[in-house]
């Protein structure tokens, strides 16, 4: 009996040890997987936020160099339509004039905020490296609970904004703030830890596929299409936005002329 009991205890003990080491082995493997995924995620987040920053910077340039000219053109067109409405005084002419005015205001609104925007987006290697580190550590999909997630989401948003501004100091502050809050991680049992790691892996995988979808969508946007054409022109040594600006300038000159010539006949009629 005593022997049997001892045997039983021994057997249970071995089983326990074996189970624990299995968990730990799996945990180690999963941790390695998580760490690789974290690096990949940091990379993809960097690509996404870089793409966004490039698009935003291109949009700013487009609005400043071409958009403002469209606004000027539309303002002239509205003046012409109003002059015609005054001369012809038909319902159609008045409708046209009102429409032209609405269009002019819409275009003016589109370019209004863009006059003092940032320069071309050219992140330094150091900035990229730092961003990758922040993303690897801070990413919200590494969160263990809702409080942690909220904190990580806030820090990640700050990091994205800092990166897109090219503000290396702000980015460093995000990392410092995150790291000052770390260190209170309690030691948990391997099985609980394993569960957490598996959950994190799942979260990261789903974020990775979300990033791919977002990048596909951004690349299909009209802004990205316009940028792609500008980039292609640039590799031919052409400046597409400058060409577009020249074209709209020509149309502005034409609108001025039209306005002048209409004013002339307007005056003649009044004489």
């Amino acid at each position: 009996m005593a022997i049997g009991l001892a045997f039983h205890v021994f057997a249970m003990g071995t089983q326990l040890i074996r189970r624990a080491s299995q968990v730990e082995e799996e945990l180690a493997a999963r941790r390695a997987e998580l760490s690789a995924l974290q690096a990949e995620l940091a990379d993809r987040e960097l690509s996404l936020t870089t793409l966004l920053a490039e698009l935003a910077s291109f949009q700013g340039r487009y609005l400043r160099e071409v958009g403002v000219l469209y606004a000027e053109l539309d303002a002239w067109n509205a003046r012409i339509a109003e002059l015609l409405a005054r001369c012809e005084d038909t319902e159609q002419a008045h409708t046209d004039a009102a429409q032209a005015r609405v269009q002019a205001e819409q275009t003016a609104r589109a370019v209004r905020a863009e006059t003092a925007q940032q320069r071309e987006f050219k992140p330094s290697l150091k900035l990229k490296r730092l961003y990758r580190e922040v993303a690897r550590k801070v990413h919200p999909d590494l969160a263990t609970d809702n409080t942690d997630r909220a904190r990580r989401e806030r820090l990640m948003a700050e990091a994205n904004a800092a990166y897109q501004r090219g503000d290396i100091e702000a980015l460093q502050r995000v990392l410092d703030e995150y790291e000052s809050g770390e260190g209170y991680t309690l030691l948990t049992e391997a099985s609980v830890e394993l569960e957490r790691v598996i959950r994190q892996i799942g979260q990261i995988r789903s974020r990775l596929s979300q990033i791919e979808q977002q990048m596909t969508a951004f690349r299909a946007s009209s802004l990205a299409k316009l940028k792609a054409r500008a980039d292609a022109a640039k590799s031919d040594g052409r400046d597409l936005l400058a060409e577009m600006a020249l074209d709209v300038k020509g149309r502005i000159a034409a609108a001025c002329l039209r306005f002048d010539s209409l004013s002339i006949s307007d005056e003649v009629h009044e004489q």
């Binding site: 487009y62 589109a110 020509g250 000159a253 002339i264 003649v268």
Partner: protein, 273 residues
């Protein structure tokens, strides 16, 4: 990218919504649209010009029409269409009103030749209001340095058509055109110097401008230069040279020159005076 089509409507709208406000988005679409349209118009235009140069005028007119349909800002295409309607080539018949419409569109885009031609049509229509418009469009083309329009504008100033009569302005615009080698302007500027209109009277200047025009084959200038030679105005009296210029003018059918030659029964060998 094979997966160009947006996968989920919602994703695209949040994705672009994050970047572009709707009015910005529509401004971007407008830029893309204008690029596409300009490229199409340019393509039609180059086909049209190739047809025009090969004297296939009907196809050229069709292609120019396509060009302005997709790119209403294509000034050169409007200009060619105007020429086709004015001369009645590639279209059923001459149509000056339609030509004026086309040239007006090109003129409004700043196309100097169209401005000049539109002004010409206005001037031909010939009432007070139209003279005003003629002066407006000649001035636009003249300010761009287009010599023919500078000459035409000078004429309006000299005659006081559509503008107050102003000999000084007339002389200014004749000179600009004359300096670019416009023979008619050289001839008229010579006249301004001979008569002292808008400039101090100066026969030597008059003769020198007549000579420039005469050398380009301007019959009136050849006759006038012959006359200046005969009279010794602004140059040494020289019947031999006078006879040369009269003969050249007469050869172009200039009646005054033909009459003048009758009083030169045989080309005098010797020089009087």
């Amino acid at each position: 990218m094979s997966n160009d089509a947006p996968q989920k409507g919602e994703l695209v709208s949040t994705a672009s919504g994050g970047l572009a406000r709707p009015e910005v988005e529509s401004l971007i679409l407008r830029g893309l649209q204008d690029l596409t349209v300009a490229a199409q118009a340019e393509q039609f235009f180059s086909w049209a010009v190739a047809n025009w140069n090969a004297r296939r005028y009907e196809s050229a007119v069709g292609l120019f029409s396509h060009c302005v349909k997709c790119g209403p800002h294509h000034a050169a295409a409007h200009f060619y269409l105007g020429v086709a309607y004015y001369q009645g080539i590639g279209v059923p018949q001459k149509d000056p009103a339609q030509a004026a419409n086309c040239w007006r569109k090109a003129a409004e885009q700043g196309y100097a030749q169209a401005q000049n031609n539109l002004a010409g049509l206005c001037e031909q229509a010939g009432s007070g209001e139209e003279y005003c418009e003629a002066a407006f469009w000649y001035a636009k083309a003249a300010e761009q340095g287009y010599a023919t329009a500078q000459f035409n504008l000078g004429v309006l100033y000299e005659l006081g058509r559509g503008v107050p009569q102003d000999y000084e302005q007339a002389a200014v615009w004749y000179r600009k055109a004359a300096e670019q080698g416009n023979a008619a302007a050289q001839f008229n500027l010579g006249g301004m110097f001979r008569l002292g209109r808008g400039v101090r009277q100066n026969y030597a200047h008059a003769a020198s401008w007549y000579r420039k025009a005469a050398e380009q084959g301007h019959a009136g200038a050849q006759y006038n230069l012959g006359a200046m030679c005969t009279l010794g105005h602004g140059m040494r009296r020289d019947f031999t040279e006078a006879a040369v210029w009269f003969r050249r003018a007469a050869g172009q059918g200039d009646e005054l020159a033909q009459k003048a030659l009758e009083s030169f029964p045989a080309a005098p060998k010797g020089r009087s005076t």
